[in-house]
Symmetry: C2
Subunit: 251 residues, 2 copies
């Protein structure tokens, strides 16, 4: 048994370029894996355009529903970077120039116009804290909302800097096994295994490889012994269908 609570999060991906298909998002998958390592599970994600009303509404819908909200995108120096404005509006507070970011930005000299644009990145909602970024200006947090860059390399540094600084719940572990059987062959038996393991999530992911149909079965849960027991039952099920359990992995 594991009495550690579950800690939940939502991810809000902000940016027209994701919704137009121009840019392939990779931040969600990276955040999901990294946060699970911190004992936080991503339970929902949304992608919204660079439109203030949409961003504000999504922030307010998600921050009350989950323990944490992590946002990516819209914190640069250009006109389409409106995430700080939206977060401030969602919380009903003013944006202020954060002296620590301002000092960092002003260290590198620039003509007044360029400096004015860069100083947009020093704006933080009143009461907000900073998220470290070795590659440039910090992100920020306010309440349970963590506001990060959209550029994957930068976002990855920011989320790495939060290791150990967030509320920690259970880490979900996984077992996976592949069988060269069609999903419909294993479906009934798999449903029965799922019924016996209420605290394990069993997912079935079919694939076709070199003309052969197969299914990868993934078990996720917080109790290693339960996962091993579920894996043993799924493996026995695969053998009962005349196939071999292959590529068994624990994560």
């Amino acid at each position: 048994m594991n009495d550690t609570p579950r800690v939940s999060a939502a991810v809000l991906i902000i940016g027209n370029e994701i919704l137009s298909g121009r840019t392939q998002d990779t931040n969600l998958a990276h955040l999901a894996k990294t946060l699970n390592g911190y004992g936080i599970q991503v339970r929902e994600a949304r992608v919204v355009p660079d439109v203030e009303s949409e961003i504000v509404a999504a922030i307010n819908a998600l921050r009350v529903r989950y323990d944490y909200l992590f946002t990516t995108g819209g914190i640069g120096p250009t006109h389409d970077d409106i995430t700080p404005d939206c977060v401030a509006k969602a919380f009903g507070v003013e944006l202020e120039i954060h002296p620590q970011i301002a000092e960092l930005i002003q260290r590198r000299p620039a003509p007044p116009e360029v400096m004015a644009s860069r100083m947009r990145m020093a704006r933080v909602p009143r009461g907000g804290g900073l998220i470290d970024n070795p590659l440039g200006p910090p992100g920020f947090c306010i309440g349970n909302v963590y506001v990060m860059a959209g550029i994957p390399r930068v976002m990855q540094q920011m989320i790495a800097s939060l290791d150990g600084k967030l509320k920690r719940g259970v880490v979900l572990r996984s077992r996976s096994v592949t069988a060269f059987v069609a999903e419909s062959q294993i479906a009934k038996g798999l449903g029965a295994v799922q019924d016996r393991f209420a605290r394990v999530d069993i997912g079935s992911y079919p694939f076709q490889r070199q003309e052969r149909y197969g299914t990868t079965l993934v078990m996720r849960g917080s109790d290693e012994a339960e996962l091993d027991a579920a894996l043993a039952e799924v493996s026995a099920l695969i053998r009962s269908l005349g196939a071999e359990p292959e590529d068994i992995q624990a994560g």
Copy 2:
């Protein structure tokens, strides 16, 4: 001027494997590009787990807000494939065995248990239509909601089969140009260009390549002449900063 209306869509990605980071979603980007070609713009996307209440709530929130809702995932034969049940619940109708899908499935003989699992894929909400799938059982639609497979190869066939069958609005065109200047250098001038072109969306996407900082500027809109005019102004702006407009593309 272009009086063709805008037609909007949301994408709902259903599946624990996307939220755990195990699977990298690529369906959103494919759908966004394909649908824009059909004259439909994706305005929002959500990712939800394989939980009935979450899926039903998302379907009902999104189908009333946009002209179309496209879902991916959860239409296979196993216990975690609950999307048809959720769509039926969202519309308050029963699931029925669709005779056309049933006939297709029954063409390939199988033991009763396996056939029973496969027949799960013949369930369609009452009043629903079919989405062609040359690779297996069809998807389905009901009202403005289109329900497709999660496997990219299958989803791509399904969305391709809808070409010409959906309400057609404007197709957004784009121009893009790259400049080796920092975003903060171009920010002020870019904001002024954006102010002059209210019907063009201008996005700025910074990058670092071989130690050089650059920015790709993307203009999107429905009027080709306006896009060309905006591109000319942005190119002039880049030259005024002592850089060259590079890699100009029209899409």
